[in-house]
């Protein structure tokens, strides 16, 4: 039962029916208990009144007989009065000081001496209902003789009523609960109908077709947020889908250029007799194109593996400034070529995969060199803050437009589409930086100010 309750596959209607039934049982039981208590109270009051009434009724008789000392006659008389009502009411008297010659014939369980003065209630046996008792002491008008009087009323008829009331109440409660559960289920089913309508609507959505949305206007008020968020999901999926498609197109395009070169120049070479040198030249050129293809394929594989979490990191504690200087040395000729100066500030240690760190910072520096103005300074800044190390590279150059900032780390994105020459890097450098940062629990970032573009990435120390 609990398993069913906790599992996510319960029927909402069934669950609501159970909740309704529980609520109904609770409320009806509360009413029933209150009524039962009230009724019980009323019966007791009624009994007490009857006892008092009977006592008043027999008091003059007792006075009369007791004055004359006719005890046995009094007993008979009380017996007679009791018999009139079919022994439903019984009377016993005894003097408080001396006892009768024989003890009064009291029912089982009733011990006169233990009874309090006033009203009390005693259960005689299982079958016979409780006896309501009134125990009083009287002083006879004639003298000092004190008597004790016990009046008892059998509550069977009242209790019969009470029991039948209880029984009816119990069944009524049970029946009511069942009815509420059933009705609750039906109501809930009716209430859930718009959800079915929603699922039919969403069932009609086909894959790959853009612009499909749920019609939220026909939905009830409660379901409109769900519909709207579902539409939001659709929209985001659509964007992702389009990105993927344009990515595929980009890959194809990126591969097309070297392939075209390969095919074209090879065809040209074999169309005529060529000298050995010309053929050699062709092979070298082919090799360059093939290297380029290999690099694209390897970078793509790296990105796809890093995204599916298949790249294991060989993390080790690394002094970031030391590594940065190694890369600066490695790229020294490239700086030299554009007469660029490099300055590295800050320091920090972090747990990183050294090879990947080299690659990320190397990509950033190559990017900076490519876009830096000749004879300017490239700034590398290392900072460790709150468990995050961040490495940024700033170059002086044309300020990057705000509109393209968000796409800079996308695969194959190039701020300048015309820069598509055979020797230029394909547009995966920055997305690799981002992938490496993500692998290290960080992120890639870009910021610009006047004539200054800063690219960087953070890593979790």
């Amino acid at each position: 039962m609990f398993k069913w309750w906790k599992s996510n596959q319960y029927s909402i209607s069934a669950r609501q029916a159970v909740i309704f039934a529980t609520a109904a049982i609770l409320i009806v039981s509360m009413y029933a208990l209150t009524l039962r208590y009230t009724l019980h109270d009323a019966i007791r009051t009624q009994m007490h009144q009857e006892l008092t009434f009977r006592e008043k009724l027999v008091l003059p008789t007792i006075q009369d007989y007791a004055d004359e000392g006719r005890w046995d006659a009094l007993k008979d008389e009380l017996e007679r009065i009791s018999a009139i009502e079919g022994h439903r009411v019984q009377y016993w008297v005894k003097p408080t000081i001396q006892t009768f010659s024989e003890a009064p014939d009291l029912p089982n369980n009733v011990v006169w001496e233990n009874l309090p003065i006033g009203y009390s209630k005693v259960s005689v046996s299982e079958e016979i209902c409780s006896l309501y008792l009134l125990n009083t002491e009287l002083t006879l008008s004639s003298g000092n003789t004190r008597l004790a009087l016990l009046v008892a009323i059998d509550s069977t008829p009242y209790m019969g009523t009470f029991d039948s009331f209880n029984q009816k109440m119990f069944f009524l409660t049970l029946f009511g609960a069942c009815l509420v559960a059933l009705l609750g289920y039906v109501i809930s089913r009716a209430g859930m109908k718009p959800v079915n309508a929603l699922s039919i609507q969403s069932g009609k959505i086909e894959p790959g077709v853009n612009g499909q949305r749920l019609d939220t206007k026909v939905l009830p008020l409660e379901l409109q947020p769900l519909g709207a968020s579902f539409n939001g999901v659709l929209e985001r999926q659509e964007v992702a889908w389009q990105q993927l498609e344009s990515f595929n197109a980009n890959v194809a395009h990126e591969l097309k250029t070297p392939l075209t070169n390969l095919i074209g120049q090879t065809q040209l070479a074999i169309s005529k007799r060529r000298s050995r040198e010309e053929l050699e030249e062709l092979l070298y050129s082919n090799l360059e194109e093939l290297d380029r293809l290999t690099r694209i394929v390897n970078d793509m594989l790296f990105l796809s593996r890093s995204q599916s979490g298949q790249t294991p990191l060989l993390k080790e504690p690394v002094d970031l400034a030391v590594e940065a200087n190694k890369i600066i040395e490695y790229l020294e000729p490239n700086f030299h070529e554009k007469a660029l100066r490099v300055s590295c500030t800050g320091s920090g240690k972090a747990q990183v995969d050294r090879g990947l760190f080299h690659r990320a910072l190397g990509n950033l520096l190559e990017n900076a060199i490519q876009y830096a103005e000749p004879d300017s300074t490239i700034l590398i800044h290392i900072e460790v803050n709150a468990g995050q190390a961040s490495i940024s590279v700033t170059n002086t150059g044309e300020t990057i437009d705000d509109t393209v900032k968000a796409s800079l780390f996308d695969r194959f994105f190039r701020a300048d589409p015309s820069r598509n020459g055979s020797s230029a890097r394909h547009g995966l450098g920055l997305s690799i930086v981002k992938a490496i940062a993500t692998l290290h629990g960080g992120n890639a970032f870009v910021s610009t100010s006047k004539q200054q573009n800063t690219f960087g990435f953070s890593i979790n120390c």
Binding site: L283, Y284, L287, E288, D291, T294, R295, V297, N298, L301, R305, Q310, T311, P312, K326, I327, E329, Y330, L331, E332, P333, N334, G355, H358, R359, G362, N363, E366, S423, R425
Partner: protein, 229 residues
């Protein structure tokens, strides 16, 4: 120096055979796993180049069965370059693992390394001599025809790397990895620049050139005059 190549792609098999033959190896080539295993068990090879995806039985199984009887060095080739595959290959007893697409230069270098390792060629040497070039590895001094050549630290590492691999073509990436500790593919032409500087000190003043560029592949340090004569 006999090497077995087990590779079902005919074109690959053909050019690998040719390349290794040109590098002084004797090659047996087979194109399926069953023949490959048979040959590997029957004959003694210096090394085996084993493709993973083969008809008959695949490369891993060939390797597994081979290892039960022989410890011939094995270089595995695979188009599946992911790390699990690589680890699987190495765990099953491969000595090296090269994902496709690979560069020929790298393959040859690795085969030479495997063969060298087998011949226990790692003995400590304190001096390298190529033609009239003398490198003292202990004092880190370089002489040519008894003239002292002054080199920077990087130039020295580059020269000693090339000298240790005399006659082997080393790709730019391999050099970058060994000398600069950089293993990422880049447009960086630091290797080119460093080679140029080294050449200016090492070769320019002398008639016999030792440091050669193999276009599109890398660099090699060797005395070429003799072979041609």
């Amino acid at each position: 120096m006999k090497i077995l190549i087990v590779e079902d792609e005919q074109k690959t098999l053909r050019y690998l055979t040719k390349a290794l033959e040109e590098n002084g190896f004797v090659i047996d080539g087979v194109d399926d796993g069953i023949d490959g295993l048979h040959m590997a068990l029957e004959q003694d090879y210096e090394a085996i180049i084993l493709d993973v995806m083969l008809p008959g039985i695949d490369g891993y199984q060939v390797l597994e069965r081979l290892r039960k009887r022989k410890q011939t060095p094995v270089l595995m080739l695979s188009a599946r370059g992911n790390v699990e595959e690589r680890v699987k290959g190495l765990q099953k007893g491969a000595d090296d693992y090269l994902p496709k697409p690979f560069s020929l230069v790298e393959l040859i270098a690795r085969i030479q390394a495997l063969v060298r390792r087998r011949h226990n060629d790692t003995r400590d040497i304190s001096e390298l001599n190529i033609a009239d070039l003398n490198i003292n590895l202990l004092s880190r001094k370089v002489f040519r025809s008894h003239h002292r050549i002054e080199l920077t630290a990087k130039e020295y590492s580059l020269l000693s790397l090339l000298a240790r691999h005399e006659g082997e073509i080393l790709s730019k990436l391999m050099i970058a990895e060994q000398v600069w500790d950089m293993n990422f593919d880049s447009d960086a032409n630091v290797v080119e620049v460093a080679v140029k500087r080294l050449r200016a000190k090492l070769d320019t003043p002398f008639t016999t050139k030792l440091l050669h560029t193999v276009r599109g592949m890398g660099y090699v340090l060797e005395e070429r005059g003799k072979q041609n004569v």
